[in-house]
């Protein structure tokens, strides 16, 4: 990237965030909220207390997974909006395995149980995304449609498991299962979930995948120019399937950690935060950095800062969390527009 481009990128981000905050301020003024306090709460809650910071990290971890779930197919020009469906499915299947094993009398020690559950999440999420990959590779069905249809299937499947008499907690009114066995859960280290280790591993994995492997090279080539990539013998269909599997596996993994680390049981809406699914925020995060795998974790952290701020706004000033959600969508809209305006290639 040239210096001039870098300067432009900085301008684009600055302008987009600036405009989005202007919109927030206008809404705040219209509904008679204290604008300064709103903006201050939004931006500083994460850094004021250690609790705020822990919450930010807790939200960053699933966001990293769902951001990558969108980013990797995006590099070959496919839109995987199914991050949340894959996350729900991964988490649900993990919970089923984790709850069923002790029920049928198999009590595995932690060092077997945890890897087993993680692999379950990877396979379940990957399989779920693979359906969409298969539909686009064989039937040319746009993944925007198929992944979203599958999201709703996953929502119902989660509801089916969480209300199932075998698994559900009879003392809860809301669809919630009984807790997972202790051997199947992860803990916290000074308020930070252990799953952060796996989030970092997945960041390294994605780097390695894109930069060092043959598949990563093929993904880059297809993203650059599909026709010439096929001319040089890249099997497009195989790349689609692999890409979707990996992206779903990451989302499913994110779901697994929400279940075994954060909630320690299956809750309807476990993949939800501040008014929307992590999968939706993942799409926004990825679009903010234009599908750049290196920028994704940073953007995920900044996104979480806003989300924690949004929760604080709702708690202290009764401002609906959707205001922040709206502003994030606006930031994305501004960024994609300005990016085309100032960085048009060719």
């Amino acid at each position: 990237m040239k210096n001039k481009d870098l300067f432009r990128v900085i301008i684009i981000y600055f302008l987009s965030i600036f405009f989005a905050f202007i919109v927030i301020s206008i809404i705040a003024i219209l509904f008679r909220y204290d604008v300064i306090k709103v903006l201050k709460t939004l931006l500083t809650t994460s850094f004021k207390t250690s609790f705020g910071f822990q919450e930010t990290i807790k939200k960053t971890i699933p966001l990293i997974f769902t951001t990558y779930a969108f980013t990797i197919p995006f590099m070959i020009k496919f839109f995987n909006i199914g991050g949340w469906g894959q996350m729900l499915f991964g988490g649900t299947v993990t919970a089923v395995v984790g709850l069923t094993l002790p029920k049928i009398g198999i009590n595995l020690p932690s060092f077997v149980m945890i890897p087993l559950l993680i692999i379950t999440g990877i396979l379940a999420g990957g399989f779920f995304a693979l359906i969409a990959g298969f539909l686009v590779a064989k039937f040319d069905i746009n993944p925007i449609i198929s992944t979203i249809m599958l999201n709703f299937v996953a929502v119902q499947f989660l509801n089916f498991i969480a209300t199932n008499p075998i698994y559900r907690d009879p003392y809860e009114g809301h669809p919630i299962t009984i807790p997972l066995p202790k051997s199947g859960t992860l803990g916290f280290i000074s308020g930070i979930p252990y799953s952060i280790i796996f989030a970092i591993i997945s960041i390294i994995f994605v780097f390695y995948l894109i930069k060092k492997t043959k598949l990563g090279y093929e993904i880059t080539a297809i993203g650059y120019n599909l026709d010439s990539a096929q001319k040089y013998g890249i099997n497009f269909q195989k790349t689609i399937l692999l890409t979707f599997f990996i992206s779903g596996a990451l989302a499913g993994l994110g779901g697994t950690f929400e279940v075994i680390n954060i909630h320690k049981k299956l809750i309807e809406g476990f993949a939800q935060t501040s008014g929307a699914q992590y999968g939706i925020f993942g799409v926004l995060t990825s679009l903010i950095v234009a599908g750049n795998p290196i920028g994704a974790p940073v953007a995920a952290f900044l996104m979480s800062v806003l989300l924690v701020g949004a929760d604080a706004l709702q708690r202290t000033m009764q401002i609906p969390v959707e205001m922040v959600f709206l502003s994030q969508a606006l930031i994305v809209l501004f960024i994609v527009t300005f990016r085309e305006r100032f960085l048009r290639r060719r």
Partner: protein, 305 residues
């Protein structure tokens, strides 16, 4: 039995309003070359504003009009950003979906707030045509609210416009080959604006229809994926208005059947019936794979140089 069939058809028509208007809206913009995937977001935002206006004014018609205007606003944003900055239509569409989702709940919470009992929308009057409405065949079709009659009108109008008028033919040509249309002197950008805005207005009406007529109250995420199912319908209809209408009625029937089976069935958990419409979208798109055609320029930006 006859009353059962009547109530089934009647209910299907109510849901068909949502599916048909939305997929028709997507087809209309697609015919001019804009692939509008933001249907879900438009529906949600229009549902919210439509409900708020109709609740505050106690007038359902005002609600539909405000939903339509919200749709027009979204259509304008979509076509303006696309035509002026050539932003990828899918990225734009998805951003607008998320924008609409956030906007819908925000507006409702800020204006109506949290109430103990859910506020109800005013009743939409049922229009009957003297004598004909009582005939057994027409009973289900002609005992409906004004939007259903609007739907009948739009069905006829869309067919007439695209196949019988010169402007309609020209607009279809933009979808196939914008360059050729431009050479003949058609203002491509203006047609794209108009088609997207009109299409989004239809989506807006169907969004407002959800809380005002179907549920009678606003709940978050009220469109529940129907905006995306309509995109599926538009694709499997190959962007032909008559097939989009057919698809709209088909999915309305599937939803009603799934809903009724869910009440009757004891053995199969109800969640699987709720999955049915979504799975059938995919199955139908697989079955009709061979027949699906896209207008050649749909989803692609057009610039004159």
């Amino acid at each position: 039995m006859l009353s059962f069939i009547n109530s089934f058809i009647s209910q299907t028509i109510t849901y068909a309003v949502v599916y048909t208007l939305t997929s028709l809206g997507i087809v209309i913009s697609g015919r001019a070359g804009i692939f509008n995937v933001s249907g879900e977001g438009i529906m949600l935002a229009s549902a919210s504003i439509g409900f708020i206006v109709s609740f505050l004014s106690q007038n359902a018609i005002l609600g539909f009009i405000s939903g339509m205007l919200m749709g027009a606003l979204f259509g304008f944003i979509l076509s303006y950003i696309h035509e002026s900055y050539k932003v990828n239509q899918f990225i734009l569409g998805i951003s607008l979906v998320i924008l609409g989702t956030g906007l819908s709940d925000l507006m409702y919470k800020l204006i109506i707030g949290v109430k103990l009992t859910a506020p109800r929308a005013p009743k939409t009057p049922i229009i009957k045509i003297p004598f004909i409405s009582d005939l057994p065949i027409f009973q289900a079709f002609l005992n409906q609210d004004i939007i259903v009659y609007f739907l009948y009108f739009i069905i006829f109008f869309a067919w007439w416009f695209y196949y019988k008028t010169k402007i309609g033919l020209e607009t279809r040509a933009i979808g196939e080959n914008p360059k050729a249309a431009d050479v003949v002197g058609v203002n491509v950008a203006r047609r794209r604006y108009l088609s997207t805005i009109i299409g989004s207005m239809l989506i807006g009406i169907s969004g407002a229809y959800l809380p005002i007529v179907i549920t009678g109250t606003y709940t978050p995420d009220i469109s529940a994926g129907r905006g995306f199912m309509a995109v599926g319908i538009a694709i499997f209809a190959s962007w032909k208005p008559q097939r989009a209408i057919l698809g709209g009625f088909l999915f309305a029937a599937i939803e009603v059947i799934a809903f009724r089976l869910q009440v009757i069935s004891q053995k199969i958990p109800y969640q699987f019936f709720l999955m049915l419409p979504f799975i059938s979208v995919l199955i139908i798109m697989m079955i009709f794979k061979k027949q699906i055609e896209f207008p050649a320029s749909v989803g692609k930006p057009y610039s004159r140089e």
